[in-house]
Amino acid sequence: MATERVIEAFEVRKNYVGGTEGAGLNGFDLQVNAGTVTGLLGPNGAGKTTAVRILATLLKMDSGEARIAGYDVRKQGAEVRASIGLVGQSVAVDEILTGRQNLVMFGRLNHLGHAKAVRRADDLLERFSLTESADLASSKYSGGMRRRLDLAASLIVAPAVLFVDEPTTGLDPAGRAEVWSAVRELVKGGTTVLLTTQYLDEADQLADRISMLKAGKVVAEGTPDALKAQLGADWLDLVMTEQADVQRLLQLVDRLADGEVRVDNLRVSIPVKDRTRALVEVATLLQEAKIEPADITLRRPTLDEVFLQLTGAGVPA
């Protein structure tokens, strides 16, 4: 099956002159295949929102090229807008209107007839589990519900590409879970999603591929597993019961470590090359030294570690 590129960006540049409005782009490249979820991951100010706004025709690029569903972002704005849905950083629904009134209004603005707009609104309310609160002013919704309404509003005419810009910023864990399952639903329906996030676990949970953004440029790209593998070493995590054990352990394992050993209070993380042999050796060493660890685990590197290494930026909690 030939894969279709629905988002393509080459060398996109955008400079903000002395503005505080956002981070610029500095040769941004991106390729996204149809039917996939791509996570655009980066710290605040990396240019995630700028990239989305340019691709959604809300912002003009200084130079470069970008196509959405084959349409030129710079020259075919109307065609691009007919192919996309946008879920921006702030929830863009009318808070005075009810959920249903919002969806009917956006349906009409998508040029559906009245009857069709009403039917579409009902479908979407059902799909995003909002039927019960359909006739409540959306200002009375919870954060997660309002986000779901926002998602629904961007799906009125089943867009080829959906941009979702930091969908869970400011939501509580329950709200995040609601939005995650809503995004997964979309993907089942075949929508291509470009998701920006500064949460690594969100990208890990939702995205097929991840592009890591630093200072307006993609610094790494691939599947979450491939990105983790880029870091190479696996990690052996040991949790000790007291500080004295930590010091003794560090002396014992010094020659086993394939890189810098990290110590976080009672937790010791050792990068290792040969997973199984390292595990056996450490276990033997501990047994001989009569040290009893509270926990011992072997794991792949987390996206946090990949992120830290690639961007050199602080990782938001």
């Binding site: 702030s90 005075i96 603005l109 040029h111």
Partner: protein
């Protein structure tokens, strides 16, 4: 091309209906907006009216009611501004801009809704005025022309409101404009004849577009307007047409440019 125009009008109507739905869902603010000028009318008419003397000897309401009409048009500016700023801040404007709809419709819809709002406001105010003893002495046609001129002023101020709303981007600045509306309202012939002011101040007040609308409305209603004799006082109707058109000619392109600049 005609299909595009058709969609633009249909989209504008959808946006207008959005405001009408707001009125139904949350009637408080709009009703307050209609009755605030009534409150002004009662405050100035009943509280201060006793001390007011019109050179020609008629009831103060004869002078005051058309003045408050014009003032109500000025107050409408705040509603426009607030609505525009809120939509930009909430990202609703961005959502509109990411839809395959006509972008002119966003503004056109706002325009129709606000004119409708002001028309209802004028009806409420005129009803109160009639109950208090204000009358129009000319023909119905002249009275309609007077209301037309008032709405023309509102139309012009709408573009001022859209421009400021798009340009300021935050609620604090809106507050500043709300405060500034007052001196602009008072430095006019809305409450008192400009002939009672010091010459220089009276001249400034007469050139206020608000005064032109009030004076023109008074002359069409057949109400007294003892303005100091001056060119602008003698050509109030012309001024009440040209002034708003001039404001529109300045602020409509400015609004359009600012709207486009959102993508820069």
């Amino acid at each position: 091309m005609t299909a595009q125009l058709g969609w633009a009008l249909a989209d504008a109507w959808t946006i207008t209906r959005r405001t009408l739905l707001h009125w139904r869902m949350q009637p408080g603010p709009v009703i307050f907006g209609w009755f605030f000028p009534v409150l002004m009318l009662l405050m100035f008419g009943a509280l201060l009216g006793g001390a007011m003397e019109i050179p020609s000897g008629e009831s103060y309401y004869e002078l005051l009611v058309p003045g408050i009409f014009a003032l109500a048009m000025l107050f409408g500016l705040e509603a426009t501004m607030t609505a525009v700023t809120t939509d930009v801040a909430k990202g609703v404007t961005d959502r509109f801009r990411s839809l395959p709809m006509s972008s002119a419709a966003v503004v056109l819809g706002r325009c129709m809704a606000d004119l409708l709002d002001s028309a209802v406001g004028l009806v409420v105010l005129a009803g109160t005025g009639l109950a208090l003893g204000w009358r129009w002495h000319g023909s119905v046609l002249e009275a309609l022309a007077a209301f037309g001129l008032l709405l023309l002023l509102r139309f012009a101020l709408l573009w001022v409101g859209i421009y400021i709303g798009l340009a300021v981007k935050n609620a604090q600045s809106i507050l500043a404009v709300q405060v500034l509306v007052w001196p602009v309202g008072f430095l006019s012939s809305a409450f008192v004849a400009t002939s009672t002011m010091p010459d220089w101040l009276g001249t400034i007040a007469q050139w206020n577009p608000l005064s032109a609308a009030a004076t023109a409305a008074r002359s069409l209603f057949g109400n007294p307007d003892p303005s100091a004799a001056s060119w602008i006082g003698d050509h109030a109707v012309e001024a009440a047409i040209i002034g708003p058109l001039l404001l529109t000619a300045i602020f409509l392109p400015l609004s359009a440019a600012t709207f486009r600049k959102l993508s820069r």
